[in-house]
Amino acid sequence: VVSLVWLLIAVFGSLPYLLAEPQLSRPVDALFESMSGFSTTSSSVVTDVEGLSRSIAMWRQFTVWVGGLGIIVLALGGLPRLRVGGRQAMAKQEMPGPEFALEATIREVARRFVVLYIAITAAEILALATLGLTGVDAHMNLYRAVAHSFTTLGTGGFSTEARSIEPFAAAT
């Protein structure tokens, strides 16, 4: 289940690259970039990062954010509802009885994790954007603040800049 989900999600995520980005027009390159994002590995086959359109660059950053959030966390939230895979069977065999309590706990933990993740992302966007707005870092703007918040929260390394974080001020 996990392998198939990973593969299909990566294929789905590679479609914008295939459709709209000349640098990633080869399916294998697009799939690599997509899988790299969702797995938060952030290896890249893009040679001209600053040549990417802003929407494609943001999608690239966004895949890291979604990957950091965890396909697995999403799956944990969805598994009990869909009654997929062996988790129910495992719960029945290992712990007969509290299956419904376990489902509710997993779903609640996943929900809290998602809320916390979004809150921390918003806080980082605000912090970085403030640095730009107050003139501390002239290179930082709202777009870059959002993009870099996505990639750092997901523990990835994609950047909108060819030199990554180097062009930004020391405060950033």
Binding site: V1, I9, G13, S55, W59, L82, G85
Partner: protein
């Protein structure tokens, strides 16, 4: 293990596809974000728009398949 349908390779294909469909709900919504960026910066929106439309088609297809296989009963 009762109630777990697996293929001869031991993979719960129907369950996997259900899960992928469920996750695609979120990723389909995720396309709205780069689409909004494209609108703001005057870039072509069609790749994300097209994918959003395909996503709706996929979901409808998956729902039909789910009901057709009897998964809609009582769920």
């Amino acid at each position: 293990v009762h109630g777990l349908r697996t293929s001869r390779f031991g993979v719960d294909i129907r369950g996997s596809l259900n899960l992928v469909g469920w996750l695609l709900q979120f990723l389909g919504v995720a396309f709205l974000f780069p689409a909004a960026i494209a609108v703001i910066y005057g870039e072509p929106i069609w790749p994300f728009q097209g994918l959003g439309r395909d996503h709706v088609g996929l979901r409808l297809g998956a729902s039909c398949a789910h009901v057709w296989q009897g998964g809609g009963r009582g769920s």
